[in-house]
Symmetry: C2
Subunit: 264 residues, 2 copies
């Protein structure tokens, strides 16, 4: 079981019960019995080496994956070969949600560093959802959350300038690292400038230039892949288009209630 012959993906037994990511990928409030049931479901892990694919567009959909460790991108490709990165994933995220639609994945999922995932076989997941209703509900939530996230990305791609996009992107990464117990102000970008650009609808040169500008303005220090945020407030101002203290635009009817908090 430990030595799967697959050239570079090995499988391991899994133990949700003492996994500290449980709260991220599984529903809370299960009793012991239910967690046991869950461990049958999850069964095994899988490793993906940097640069390799967990799955590719067109592959048969058989499982969702909960990321234990690592960093990945998902990307779709147009018929003429243009690639669009649609998201970056880190530990605790569940990936593969696009496969349910037609039982075939519609995107590529590529590891940006050596990665380890838990396999959630879809057929077993469906069975288990019958017995543990909270599980089905939980996955509906995950799906819906992804829709809300993508709405935010559409807002970003559709109506924000390069600086705003980058600022939002950096802040979002920061927030996600913080949620996982890492520093919110200092981290390493696992993706290239080109991948950031693809995600944000910019060219790699623009990404590089804007990061340099941020550095110059003392908002952050960007040294190759290493980023240290110096001025959160400043970045936030850029995201809301209020950078450079422009002569106070009167914003007409600012919506009260829910705004898109997690832009990216």
């Amino acid at each position: 079981m430990l030595n799967n012959p697959n050239l570079n993906m090995s499988t391991l037994r899994v133990a949700c019960s003492n996994c500290n990511l449980r709260e991220l990928c599984l529903p809370v409030g299960l009793n012991l019995k239910e967690i046991e049931r869950l461990e049958e479901l999850v069964s095994t892990r899988k490793r993906v080496r940097r640069g390799e694919a967990l799955y590719r567009a067109g592959d048969k959909f058989e499982a969702l994956y909960a990321i234990r460790l690592g960093f990945l991108k998902s990307a779709v490709m147009s018929s003429d070969g243009r690639e669009q990165v649609t998201s970056f994933h880190m530990s605790g995220d569940v990936v593969g949600l696009d496969g349910l639609a037609s039982m075939v994945y519609s995107s590529d999922l590529i590891a940006l560093e050596d990665t380890e995932v838990c396999i959630l076989h879809y057929d077993r997941l469906e069975e288990a959802s019958q017995q543990i209703p909270a599980l089905g509900t939980h996955f509906q939530r995950l799906l819906s959350r992804e829709i809300v996230r993508q709405n935010g990305v559409m807002l970003l791609l559709g109506s924000m300038h390069a600086e705003e996009r980058l600022a939002a992107f950096i802040l979002n990464l920061s927030q996600r690292f913080e949620q996982r117990g890492y520093s919110r102000s200092e981290f390493v970008l696992r993706m290239t400038r080109a991948e950031i650009g693809s995600y944000l609808g910019l060219k790699l040169e623009t990404v590089s230039r804007v990061l340099s500008r941020f550095s110059h303005d003392n908002l952050l220090i960007a040294n190759q892949k290493h980023v240290q945020i110096m001025d959160f407030e400043g970045l936030r101002n850029i995201v809301s288009g209020q950078a450079f203290a422009q002569p106070h635009k009167t914003i007409p009817l600012k919506k009260a209630a829910t705004s898109i908090k997690d832009l990216v």
Copy 2:
């Protein structure tokens, strides 16, 4: 029951069994008993007049809605008041999926013409899903399909030019009208140029100009809100970036399998 006092939303009894949109919004292959069960679930309809909201960001999530008749947009708003249209909906579509994430809608849903929807109360939906497993699965599919669709929009916003975006948009509308039994080559745009622009990440002037250019190139006839497509092939060529017979770019490693068919 027929005369709900709500100033402009009336409710009606519903009958899925003889609704010709059933295949779009509900799972196929249910038996009679299950369909009866379903009709309890769906219970009532609701009308929304042009310009009014079915729900708004921040409203408590209580139901999904299946569109019987009409046309709507959904839109999110950034904290500084920029609006981004995230999709257009027509008969047979199910809306409200973003509400599951945190039991609060995260977008506005506005009718672009007088509209009638069936109400799918969420709590009843959850119960029914226990009894009719196909129902739960079906809604997971709807959610996943929306994620795939949004991936396509991100590709469009992130890596396509104005002409490509417009061409993709028009072709997608055409296809959806055709699926519903209307003409695929002649239809009326229910949204303004500004709304198209918001959706496609362009300004209304750009939308107008590009449509004029299409008219001039005999790809279509755009007369205010009325559109007649003259050259599907030509539009398709534009979407794939092969317009104007550019000196055959050698496309390196074109992905074989699944591509994003429904770009928009």
